[in-house]
């Protein structure tokens, strides 16, 4: 094989390898993301929204919070991150399946309902199958 042809083949192989590893890295990093379910708050009063109970967390100090899903420009397209938002008001609804909360941002952003693994504030997440 001529040296020039060898170098060209090596170049083609290198770029094919980089393309392959890029596809693999994007895919594997996506698979490693915490999976969440998307949900939307329902407005019940002026500043009051009803959200699923499973979306609201409470810490030892009695503070309640939930995760909003924010869209941002990532390295390979759009990506979604969870933003932790503390709720100044959170009362269980009559049926106990919903919680009435007050948070203006709920009108703009969807809520994340985590599965077994709870994401951290600012962590990238992926949606469960069927959430798009």
């Amino acid at each position: 094989m001529k040296p020039l042809r060898f170098v060209c083949c090596a170049g083609a192989l290198f770029f094919a390898f980089m393309a392959g590893i890029t596809a693999y890295a994007i895919n594997s990093s996506y698979r490693q993301l915490t999976e969440v379910e998307l949900s939307f708050a329902q407005r019940v009063e002026n500043d009051r929204y009803a959200v699923p109970r499973s979306a609201v967390y409470t810490d030892q100090k009695g503070r309640s919070w939930l995760f909003l899903v924010l869209e941002q420009e990532g390295a390979w397209g759009k990506e979604y991150v969870c933003k932790k938002v503390y709720l100044p008001y959170a009362e269980p609804d009559q049926g106990q399946e919903r919680v009435i909360v007050s948070e203006r941002l709920l009108s703009q952003y969807p809520i994340a309902i985590a599965g077994e693994q709870v994401p951290e504030d600012g962590e990238r997440v992926r949606f469960a199958e069927g959430d798009g």
Binding site: K2, L4, V7, G11, M18, T22, I26, S29, E73, A75
Partner: protein, 601 residues
């Protein structure tokens, strides 16, 4: 009647040829006009304009301020001291190296190693020299082992020589290759005639070698001047933005004001620099032009010997290997660091005294660079290659470099061809303007270019980097110099055969300047593969940055990871370099075969 028709046809052909020529020149002319001349005029305007109490006034107040600024004077003084030492020095050293190469006839592997310092990412270069010259570096370790006190190399009387050594290491190999290519163009018969006529060595050197090399000397002088600004990135990494007063160069002044977007100061400083550069470059160019017009000769870029390379001496082989090692050392260290485990990286390079990290003095641990790390690990490659963010940056670099190189070659060849074909006085003046624009430091034009792209709403896009790079006048300059000696008889013969200008360029000129095109590809690819400043200024979105920006952070960032990234990043440029060098060699052997077969016929 027939004669009249012929005349008419001739005139029509002349007009269509002229239109074709101007059509070819248009991209280069428009690009240079909007991306270089207009920003330069904006610079000029800003340097005279000042606003006092809401009123705009024109005057020399910025110039008066800047000339009274001690920091500016210090930067200029140090820069000229640096440039006056380093530019002639690099010319002499690389010419000497090229003359040695001509005698040694090295293989393409050695030539390849000579080019590497030119393309090593600035972060790796800075890291290597920091390993040698820092307070806990290799030189001080050596002094300590000899019983001497460690020295602050970056602030003592020797500090000025660090940039000089760095500059020589980075550019010497590349310029030696340019000289070597020039030397190979000088016909051997000239030397034989001189020998028969009994000319001495000195006469042969000055009257033949140097005289016929004058266009190449001009190229090297200009590239060396541009290089003195290109080196600023490594200097910032090594010594910071405000180094010791002996190391504070004009480049620091420009970059510090560029960061603050201090347009008036930047512009007036740039105009002063351009005036000085004009007064130096123009006389040199005119002398060179007169010389090269007197000695009419040209061949093709030729890096490979037609001679038999048998009978290499052992000393010659050792010398070649030692030189190659000198050029390759930072690359070898980068490879070695990329294969070290993170624990070993910390142990060897940390300034702090840790457990089992060897020689130290006064609370400072001396670095322990090695070419043979143990245990070997590829974990840093894994971290790098499995991170989509770094991979996106890598592909950003590929996209930028591919578009820039392709566009630059097309625009430069077309532009240079018009300079070659249109022999008018105004074209000579225009060519001189191209040279001047070429030597204006990139930092000077960055701000007005930024304003220009902001007006076009292109400031965050790749076009803001690609367009100035594509229309960079350096390509037209390099290709025109190569075209200048092309025999006019060939053009006339093609014209008689009814070939148009585009056909002449494609079929007659281009096959004979493949060497120049390959050398230009090499130069432009190397320059823009390691792009940092333009990317930082123009691209605000982190996801759009090229990998070179991340790799330039080696001294501050995760050293092992950046080393692995640098090695991966070096592979494409090595492949391009190898392809260019082999392309030059194949072209040489083809032209030899053609000549041979013609002789047989």
């Amino acid at each position: 009647m027939r004669k009249g028709t012929d005349n008419m046809k001739g005139k029509l052909r002349h007009h269509s040829n002229a239109a074709a020529l101007w059509g070819m020149f248009l991209p280069s002319a428009l690009g240079v006009m909007f991306l270089y001349i207009l920003p330069f005029l904006l610079t000029l305007n800003s340097s005279f304009r000042s606003r006092t109490g809401g009123k705009t006034e024109y005057g020399f107040s910025h110039y008066a301020d800047i000339l009274g600024n001690p920091v500016f004077r210090l930067g200029v003084k140090n820069f000229f001291r640096f440039a006056l030492l380093v530019i002639p020095l690099v010319c002499v050293v690389s010419l000497a190296l090229a003359l040695a190469l001509k005698r040694w006839e090295p293989g393409s592997g050695f030539l390849f190693s000579m080019l590497l310092p030119f393309v090593v990412p600035s972060g790796s270069t800075a890291f290597f020299w920091n390993t040698i010259f820092s307070l806990n570096g290799w030189l001080n370790r050596l002094r300590f082992q000899c019983g001497l006190e460690p020295v602050m190399w970056d602030s003592g009387r020797w500090s000025f020589f660090i940039p000089v050594i760095l500059y020589l290491w980075k550019f010497c190999g590349f310029f030696a290759l340019v000289f070597y290519a020039g030397l190979r163009q000088i016909p051997d018969e000239y030397y034989e005639i001189a020998r028969i006529e009994g000319a001495g060595r000195r006469t042969v050197f000055f009257r033949i070698t140097l005289a016929y090399l004058s266009p190449v000397v001009m190229i090297v002088l200009l590239l060396a001047f541009i290089g003195s600004f290109q080196i600023s990135r490594e200097l910032f990494m090594l010594f910071g933005r405000y180094p010791h007063s002996d190391l504070y160069l004009f480049q620091h002044f420009l970059n510090n004001h560029l960061d603050r977007m201090n347009l008036p100061v930047l512009c007036s400083a740039s105009v002063l620099l351009i005036l000085v550069v004009c007064s130096v470059v123009m006389p040199v160019w005119l002398v060179q032009k007169r010389l090269s017009d007197t000695f009419e000769k040209r061949g093709e870029f030729n890096l490979f010997s037609p001679r038999n390379r048998s009978g290499k001496g052992r000393v010659r082989r050792i010398l070649t290997a030692a030189l190659a090692l000198l050029f390759l050392l930072p690359v070898l260290f980068t490879i070695s660091n990329s294969l070290m485990s993170p624990v070993e990286v910390t142990r060897r390079y940390s300034a702090e005294i840790l457990e089992q990290n060897g020689l130290s003095r006064g609370g400072l641990h001396f670095m322990e660079p090695t070419l043979l790390p143990w245990p070997l690990t590829i974990s840093q490659y894994k971290d790098f290659l499995l991170n989509p963010v770094y991979l996106r940056m890598f592909w950003n670099s590929v996209l930028l470099a591919a578009l820039i190189v392709a566009g630059h070659i097309v625009v430069s060849v077309l532009g240079a061809f018009v300079f070659f074909r249109v022999k008018k006085r105004y074209m000579t003046i225009l060519f001189m303007a191209y040279i001047l624009l070429m030597v204006i430091p990139a930092q000077v034009l960055l701000t007005p270019q930024f304003v220009f792209f902001q007006t076009l709403r292109l400031e965050g896009s790749y076009w803001a980097i690609i367009l100035p790079a594509v229309f960079n006048p350096v390509g037209v300059f390099i290709v025109s110099l190569q075209m200048r000696g092309f025999p006019q008889e060939c053009i006339e013969a093609a014209q008689l055969g009814g070939a148009g200008e585009l056909c002449i360029l494609r079929r007659v000129v281009l096959p004979n300047i493949k060497g120049a095109v390959l050398v230009l590809t090499l130069y432009i690819f190397a320059e823009y593969w390691n792009i940092v400043d333009q990317a930082v200024v123009f691209l605000s979105n982190q996801n759009r940055l090229p990998l070179s920006v991340f790799l330039s952070d080696m001294l501050q960032g995760d050293m092992g990871l950046v080393s692995a990234g640098s090695v991966v990043y070096l592979i494409p440029i090595c492949l391009v370099f190898a392809a260019c060098l082999l392309g030059l060699r194949e072209e040489r052997s083809q032209s030899k075969t053609n000549t041979g077969s013609e002789e047989i016929k």
